[in-house]
Amino acid sequence: MSEDMLLQATGLCKYYHSGDSDIAALDHVDFQLKKGAFTVLSGRSGSGKTTLLNMIGLLDNPDAGSLHIAGEDVLALATSARANFRLQRIGFVFQAYNLIRVLSARENVAYVLQLRGMPKKERLNIADRWLSEVGLDGLENRRPDQLSGGQQQRVAVARALACEPALVLADEPTANLDSQHGESLMHLMRDLNERCKMTFLIASHDPVAMAAALQCVYMQDGQIVSRDTV
């Protein structure tokens, strides 16, 4: 794997059983991602983009294939080591925001830093800085149910970036937002990608997301059918 390559997946397969037959959610997928990329995985529902994202995020196991992230064979890691790898290297942004309801915006962002063992003062400072970065100054103490959908998704982005991970994975981040907020969020992520040199891999079939992408990868029936670089 070359030095500027962050991720290399080879022959990834994932099958789901349905009655007597197996359905291939991923069918021998080969996929690479360079450091600093801003790539959108696109395709219709059921094309396999979320499954691929889950594999790369170490949330699910492939039935076959290999996966290296930052030079490490991540499929060989034990469960607890995978959790630690996610904590240290990967940031997640989910479709449904998925903030922890009992924590404030600041605490949600600081949570991952706390898992890393960072002292309280330091992690709260960092959380405030990232909330400011995503345009949520003054809303630090609000709980998720006191924020709009767009604001919650910005908190989720801040949470994903707070640890400055090598790779940020976002699954349909604009799906629950109106077009204006969706566009704003994609601009924000693209801006952070440029300024912070973080690698983004986004699963989305939203034209707004694809418009912001540096590279679009199209999937169909569990296979990558084309790659477009802007």
Partner: protein, 408 residues
């Protein structure tokens, strides 16, 4: 972090949490009150048995308790005095009374009755037992009394004697010769205990010693000891008197039925405790499991963010411990308040207790709780709260992040 998140999750479902805490508290408070009633009855029974006549510990000549005979007498020799002094110096003995007793035939108004003739020293007995307080007609023995006696109410009725009448006691002296003397009836005891009321005559110790040719000789030493010192004093005396011809018997060595009855009733309470614990554990498990199932997606997100299963499991356990802990604290407060309140005012069961009064049970029950019962019960409820977390923890540790995140 774990504590903070657990506490906030409890607050998030405040009404449900409060209901669970209240259920735990009510269960524990009820158990504490029941133990308070139970211990109040049992301790009163055991105290009454010891304090009315038997004492906490008795020292006899070997085998006297099983085969009573004047030939198995004891004297105030140095060995016995040193053994008693050692325990008295350690402030473990409250009072000592030396007694002499034998079987006799009492003759009243043309009627005779077999009973136990018991010689007591009035002054020593006043410090050792409450038998004098059981006299409800006339008076108990006093220092300087001559040939006077106190009879149980049933014995007096059977003999057809009343206060001021003469009662003749026929028995054998130390040498087997016939001994008989006339005593004036000065008091009648109504204790509610059949053995005392029907079969006992109490006379001055020195008069009985003279009558039986037993000057300076006794059949038993009765000791009154605080319950917490009972075993230590018994062990000490048995050690001191190991090579001598003495037997040192605790009250329950002599009257094992009462202790067996208490142990049996306690066993029933432990079964009851187990049932309540199951209910408490089910209540807590229900709350924690519901809370956990409502947050499957949140747990999935936390796992995706890098939170280990160990931390998630700790959070569930801490939630359970907080619910149980608050319930235990509240239950302890309410339960102890109930026990304290009824300890001061008592529970009047006189209407229901006519027949059991003879078993040394007072008609007014003053609740009290033994510390071991209190802490066992509170500890068991707390343990049930922790055990209740096992199922939710088991479920959490088996969550798969990708399934949990998409959980609806």
């Amino acid at each position: 972090m774990v504590l903070s998140l657990a506490w906030r999750n409890i607050i998030r479902q405040w009404h449900r949490s409060m209901l669970t805490i209240a259920a735990v508290a009510a269960g524990l408070a009820a158990l504490i009150f029941l133990w308070g009633f139970n211990d109040g009855v049992h301790n009163t029974m055991m105290r009454n048995l010891q304090e009315v006549i038997v004492g906490s510990v008795q020292i006899h000549h070997n085998d006297f308790f099983k085969k009573p005979s004047l030939s198995r007498d004891i004297q105030q020799n140095n060995v016995l005095k040193v053994a008693l002094k050692k325990a008295e110096d350690a402030s473990q003995i409250k009072a000592v009374s030396w007694r002499l007793d034998t079987f006799a035939l009492a003759v009243g108004d043309d009627v005779s009755e077999g009973l136990v003739l018991l010689g007591m020293n009035a002054r020593a007995e006043e410090k050792t037992t409450r038998i004098a307080g059981k006299v409800d007609q006339g008076r108990f023995l006093q220092a300087g009394d001559g040939a006077v006696c106190v009879l149980g109410a049933t014995a007096a009725r059977n003999l057809g004697v009343t206060l001021g009448d003469d009662v003749i006691f026929l028995t054998q002296d130390r040498f087997g010769a016939l001994a008989a003397d006339k005593f004036q009836l000065i008091g009648i005891i109504s204790s509610g205990e059949m053995g005392i009321d029907r079969g006992l005559a109490i006379v001055p110790l020195n008069v009985l010693q003279r009558m039986l040719e037993m000057d300076g000789r006794y059949t038993r030493v009765v000791l009154q000891i605080e319950p917490e010192n009972l075993e230590a004093v018994t062990t000490s005396l048995r050690t001191s008197l190991a090579d001598q011809d003495y037997e040192v018997l605790r009250w329950y060595d002599m009257y094992p039925m009462m202790k067996q009855w208490v142990d049996l009733e306690n066993a029933f309470y432990y079964i009851f405790l187990a049932v309540v614990l199951l209910i408490v554990a089910a209540g807590i498990m229900n709350t924690v499991l519901m809370s956990m199932l409502e947050r499957v997606r949140e747990f999935g997100v936390m796992m995706a963010l890098g939170c280990s299963r160990r931390i998630l499991a700790s959070m569930v356990v801490v939630e359970s411990v907080i619910l149980g802990g608050l319930g235990v604290l509240l239950g302890l407060a309410v339960g102890l308040a109930l026990v304290t309140w009824f300890h001061s005012i008592g529970i009047d069961l006189s209407a229901e207790m006519d027949t059991v009064a003879r078993f040394y049970v007072d008609p007014i029950v003053y609740t009290e709780i033994d510390s071991d019962h209190l802490w066992q019960t509170a500890g068991s409820v707390m343990a049930a709260a922790i055990i209740a977390a096992f199922v939710p923890v088991w479920r959490v540790t088996r969550l798969q992040p990708v399934e949990a995140i998409h959980h609806v």
